[in-house]
């Protein structure tokens, strides 16, 4: 699938989009809203929430938004066929990202990077996954940049199937976990060699986790 073409996040939150893009977003007319045309926004949100068995807390949060914002997410959710978990993530992250950006949620959803995903090629599940990843990248730009750097390091290392490296979840601590699952001396020797060969990779990862390496 095509990866979303996101700006590389940097120390500054991304700039707000221009007015034209915002207008476009607000007036975007996806084609899956026949159902909604026959019912009001409240009913449409409730219907989708019910279809997805969305927990009441999330329904309430969604319903508390401005009508245009509610509708903007409704369109995205229908277009991308967001699953329950994805919808929950979107409801949690969108107000936070919009606040970071100084935009209304509907305006934020009109950003070109997101429209590229929402209206772009690929299956609905692929686009939904890319959409959620993009939201996370907007919401946690530095964390994602660091995670990507660590994953790139890991990819570059030529490890063996029985040598697993686990990063701390959401980089919540500075610990790199290396797990060896061995059944023979040959595997032990191979594992020790691969660890030694990749010592520089692990050191670089440890420096990233220690906050001492620039990413």
């Amino acid at each position: 699938m095509n990866e979303p073409r996101l700006e590389r996040p940097n120390e500054k939150w991304p700039e707000p989009v221009g007015e034209q893009a915002q207008r476009d977003a607000l007036h975007a007319s996806p084609h899956h809203l026949q159902q909604q045309e026959c019912e009001g926004l409240d009913e449409s949100v409730e219907r989708l929430a019910s279809e997805r068995h969305l927990p009441q807390r999330y329904v309430a949060a969604w319903r508390s938004w401005d009508a245009r914002d509610q509708e903007a997410l409704l369109r995205v959710a229908r277009s991308l066929k967001l699953r329950t978990g994805q919808l929950m993530v979107a409801i949690e992250l969108l107000p936070e990202v919009a606040l970071q950006q100084g935009l209304a949620i509907a305006e934020f959803l009109g950003r070109e990077e997101l429209r590229h995903i929402i209206d772009g090629p690929g299956s609905a599940p692929q686009r939904a996954h890319a959409f959620i990843e993009a939201l996370r990248t907007f919401r946690y730009p530095r964390l994602n940049r660091m995670l990507k750097a660590l994953k790139d390091e890991l990819k570059a290392a030529k490890l063996l199937p029985f040598v697993k490296v686990a990063l701390p979840k959401e980089l919540s601590c500075g610990e790199l976990r290396i797990e060896l699952r061995l059944t023979s001396q040959a595997q032990l020797d191979a594992a020790l060699k691969v660890l030694a060969d990749n010592r520089h990779v692990f050191l670089r990862m440890l420096r990233i986790l220690d906050g001492t390496d620039e990413v």
Partner: protein, 364 residues
Amino acid sequence: MKFRLDAVYVEEQVRTSALCRRVLARLGPEVPVHFVTDGREVARTLDGPDPFAAGKRRLVLMKRRAPFLTACPAASAQFACCGYLVLILASNCPMDCSYCFLQEYLADNPAFQIYTNYEQAFDELERLSRTNPKRHFRIGTGELADSLAFDTLTGICPDLIEFFLRHENLRLELKTKTDEIDNLLRLDPKGRVLVSWTLSPMRVFESCERGTALPSARIEAASRLVEAGYRVAFHLDPIIPYPGAFEDYRELLNALFDAVDPLKISFISLGTLRMTPRLRAIARTRHPQDAILIGGEEVLSPDGRYRPFYPLRLKLYRAISEQIRAAHPKLVHYLCMESPETAERVLGSRVPKPAALGELLATT
């Protein structure tokens, strides 16, 4: 500072106490005063969409039934603690910071309570001093309330200072986010009273702090108290690593060290933002437009609190620590509510045990 009070409740049994009479005399006639049998009842029962904010506007003058002197509520075996002791003379605070832990800690008991029987605290302190003559203790009144924000109402500080000056092994720490130092300037601290300020960069002040003095005003107040013979300390807490934070904290420390000679600073504590899931939920509900609070890159950490993700946290701690060392290599600084391992990673040396650090901070 100016209080916005909806009502004052006075427990019948304390209405003749000196503190109660003082407070009532200093309050304006526009605030209704009610007398109640048990202050605890009115301290807990607050309605409305934001009971915590309503609690700040309901002053209850009452007797404290629990001990005044306690361990710091943040103390834990999992952290490298500083041996701080807390003297609870009041509960809640007229200011309203979006990151404040009191939003959770006092959620079920939110009224602004002032304990009129504070002389009993002196008995507890007396015992502590007498039974541990060879140890030194740092004891603060600014954990569940601001130490100076309501002193114009209560006038407690002169009594406190007078008591602490008579006890060599007890060091009083008055912790504040105000610049209300007029009462203190009238006293002679004999170089043995510590006043500390929580400091934040302007952007955090503007986004997160309501009712507090400007950071520059706090620094100015500190400078004046140094001149008046007080010891001063600072708490960079919470440190929030928003985009631009590295520059902002550097500027904040530059401004601090320009105004206050680093040699005259007793210590600086550092602590990044940390919130239990419940506190985080409460704060987000109460302050939905606080972009710095809402937009931070905090993740659920192994201790069950949301904290800035670890490498970012370490990096900001180190930048601040290096600047403090550059200002004066021996300026004591330590991390608050962090593990010994994290403290060691940042500070580059093993952290002392709480009692030893407490001793150092009480005597520096």
